[in-house]
Each structure stands twice: as C-alpha cells, then as structure tokens.
C-alpha cells in the first residue's frame, strides 16, 4: 500500500474499510489517502467496489469496519470503536463538507438551475437569498451556464445538467469533491464540456476523488490512480505507472487490455 508522499496529514484518510451486502463482500479492507489539492482517480472493473467506496466517504452508505476521516474527523461514526452512528444533524453537517456529483445528475426537477445551487447555501450554510443567488450565478458562470440560471433541469441538455450538478456541489465549498462516473450517462459529444469543468476545478486546487471510465482523462488530470479489483485496492500510483502497458499486476493488465480492446 502506498500512501501520499506528502508529510502533511491526508485530507481524506480511508483506513481498512470493509463492507458486505449480505454474503457479498464489496469492500475488503480498503485503505486510501488523498492529500489536499490532490486529484485521485479510482478505476476498475464494474462490481469492484469503486462507487461503494465513494458513497462511504460521505456516508451515503455505512460500512462494517475500518475508519474514514476527513480533515482528521471521523465521518459517519462518533467513534469508530463503538461504531455508534452520528446523529442526523451531525451527519448532515459532515456531508456538507463533501461535495458529490452523481452519474445520473440528480438535479432537483422542481427547482431552477440557480435554485438547485441555492438550496444548500440557504438551508445548510444559512446564506441570505441575495447572497445565495450571487454565489449561484458565480458558479453557473464558471461552468458556462450563466444564461441558464432560471431554466429548469428538464430544459437543459445532459451535459448542462451535469455542469449544474457540479456547480451545486462546489458552491458549498466542500473540502473534497466526490465524482461518481459523472460522464457515464452522457452522450459522447457532451462528455468533453463536463470534463473541461472538472479540469478547471482541478487547476484551482480542488481536492477530488473520482470514479471514471475515461482513461485518457484519468491519465491527464489525476495525481494518482487507484486500481480496484474484487473490493480491494490492487494497485496505486501515478497515472504513467498504473496505465503502463507493461505493468506486472496481472489483474490490472487484463483490465487495461480489455478496456483498450473495447475503447479504441
């Protein structure tokens, strides 16, 4: 297991996390660190536990053992020893510190683009209507949708919806952004506009943990790539090392070969 080379403590520290759905073990003692400002990409075959891992980080899913800390603070449990869940209020406050962008966008269909972004700012951050509106407009501008502030999600294309999804997450100023296969539901010609937004956030130093099948993007944008297989971390390293065709990791080599065969 490699860890980040930084001396500063990791922003996200996942340690020995295991989880089962009934008889199926989906996470096997997963450990992973993400330093501040780092972009870490998780790749791996479907069913390898990538998405589940991401969902554990903001406690959309609980886990059976291990610990997940953000900025030194245990995410879902008051104390990992007793495994006593945090209160609803505590959990909500913890989740506000992590942003999440979903594969299926999950915009609120009854709210406008600006309204989607403002909801968390108003109700969780306690901002005034005017303040929330101006933050929403700022972020919509950043994702190239300033002119769509008052459009409903149904009036936007998939790529536009996902850019609103990203704006909604980052407007909360999370410590870390979780991206869960955010381009998988998009038509191929819309993928680029979404990835461009992610790239510009990365350049601004946003800490990100993302699951993606966009290998070229993972190679260009990530500080490190984590390869997961069968619920465990099978390899971690800089993109060049992980995506090298001559890797000695048997599973990784098979995955990459299969991936190349189907994508090129």
């Amino acid at each position: 297991m490699s860890t980040s080379s930084n001396d500063t403590p990791a922003l996200l520290d996942v340690r020995d996390v295991s989880k089962s759905f009934g008889a199926v073990q989906v996470l096997r003692s997963v450990s992973l660190e993400v330093a501040r400002g780092e972009v870490v990409t998780v790749i791996g075959p479907s069913g390898s536990g990538k998405t589940t891992l991401l969902r554990c980080v903001n406690f959309l899913e609980s886990y059976d053992s291990g610990s997940i800390r953000i900025d030194g603070k245990e995410v879902g449990f008051r104390d990992p020893g007793t495994r006593q869940r945090r209160s609803e209020r505590d959990l909500a406050a913890m989740r506000a510190e992590t942003g999440m962008v979903f594969q299926s966008f999950n915009l609120f269909p009854h709210l406008t683009a600006a309204g989607n972004i403002m909801l968390g700012l108003r109700k969780v951050r306690g901002k005034s209507e005017a303040e929330a509106r101006s933050i929403a407009e700022h972020w919509l501008g950043r994702v190239g949708l300033a002119h769509k502030a008052d459009s409903l999600p149904a009036e936007l294309s998939g790529g536009q919806q996902q850019r609103v999804g990203i704006a909604r997450a980052v407007a909360m100023e999370p410590k870390i952004l979780l991206l869960d296969e955010i381009t998988s539901a998009l038509d191929p010609e819309l993928v680029g506009e979404v990835l461009a937004v992610v790239r510009s956030l990365a350049e601004d130093g946003m800490t990100m943990l993302m699951v993606t099948h966009e290998m070229a993007f993972a190679r260009d944008a990530s500080s490190r790539i984590v390869f997961m297989a069968d619920g465990g971390v099978s390899a971690v390293g800089p993109p060049k090392e992980i995506l090298a065709a001559e890797t000695t990791n048997e599973r990784l080599r098979t995955f990459l070969a299969r991936f190349r065969a189907s994508h090129f």
């Binding site: 959309l60 609120f108 909604r168």
Partner: protein, 216 residues
Amino acid sequence: MLTQIAYALPFLAQGFALTLWVSLLVVVLSLIAGVLLGVGLVYGPAPLRWAVRIFSDTIRGIPILVLMFFVYYGLPAIGLHLPSFWAAVLALTLFKTAQVIEYLRGAVGSIPKGQSEASMAIGLTFRQRLAYVIFPQAFRRFLPPWINGVTDAVKGSALVSLLGITDLMQAINQVIGRTYEAMPLYILGALIYFAVNYALSLASRRLERRFSFIRE
C-alpha cells in the same frame, strides 16, 4: 310541494353545515395523522413500519360502517364512551387516515432515490430533505388521489346519519318523513353533494396544472 320544501330549507341548511363540519374535521385530522404515519411507513424503523402497515391494512379491510358501529357501540365495552358525533368523526378519520397513508407512500415512493441522496450530499437534514426536496415533488402525485379521497369523505359523511346525527342526509330523511316528498328531496340532496364534490375536483384540476411544470 315547493312551499313545503322551501319551508324545510333552513333545516336542511343546518344539516348541510354539519355535513361540511364533519367532512372538514375528518379531512384535516386524517391528513395530519396520515402524513405522519405515512412518513413513518416509508422512513421509520422496522417496528414502526410494521405497526403502520398492520394498522393500514386492517382498517382498509373493514367496511366503514362496521368501523363506525364498532367505535360507537363496541368501545363502551372497554370503558370508552364517545358521543355519537365524535364516534362518527373518529371512525371516519381512522378510515381516511389509512387511505392517506397509502397515498403518501405511493407519492413519496415515486420520487427517485437519487433525489434523497443528492439532498443528503449537500447536507440537508431529514426534515429539510422532506420539506424542500421530497414533498414538493411528491405533492403533484399525492394531490389527485387525495382530492378523490376528500370527495369520498364528503359522501361518506352521510353514514353518520346512521348514528342519529342530523347531517344533510338525516335532515333530508326527516323532511321526507314530514312531507312524503321523497323524490324531489333526494334529488335536492344529490345536487348539493354533487355541487360540493364538483367544486373540489375543479379546484384539484387547477392545482394539478399549477404543479405540472415539474418534469423528471
């Protein structure tokens, strides 16, 4: 004949007022209880879910008239004596509550899971998620069956006459008892019930149109 009916109108109006009062009580009380229990059914811990499920299935499986007689004539056996008016309101409310639970479960259940997750992810608490994300979307699906239920409640309130309460139905029967003019009076009664329910469904359609902008 007309003069006789005209003479009876103030009496019928009193009955009508009582019909509206019973309906209003039943509708409001069942809405509050049904939404609370429905939320318990969807989001509650297992024991609560089971309790609500058993309540709802049991109540909906009993004819409303049996339920009403049970509350009025049956409960005194365990020391609970309710005046006929409140026995009727309680029975009708229990019945309506079970229906509201199911409307709520259906409406909330139709909202994709991703909506809850997205609202969790931005840090909304359970109540905030319901108030700002789930209920506004579920409302559009809750409304049509619920308004149907309200019109059922208005019509069903005629059953309270069987406990000797002078609602519109009972008032009509009493006037018929004095005048022997069954046909025109029943037609008048039918028209009054119809007018109330037709107004309700018109209002419902307007409300539905107002919320039709929500598309998934």
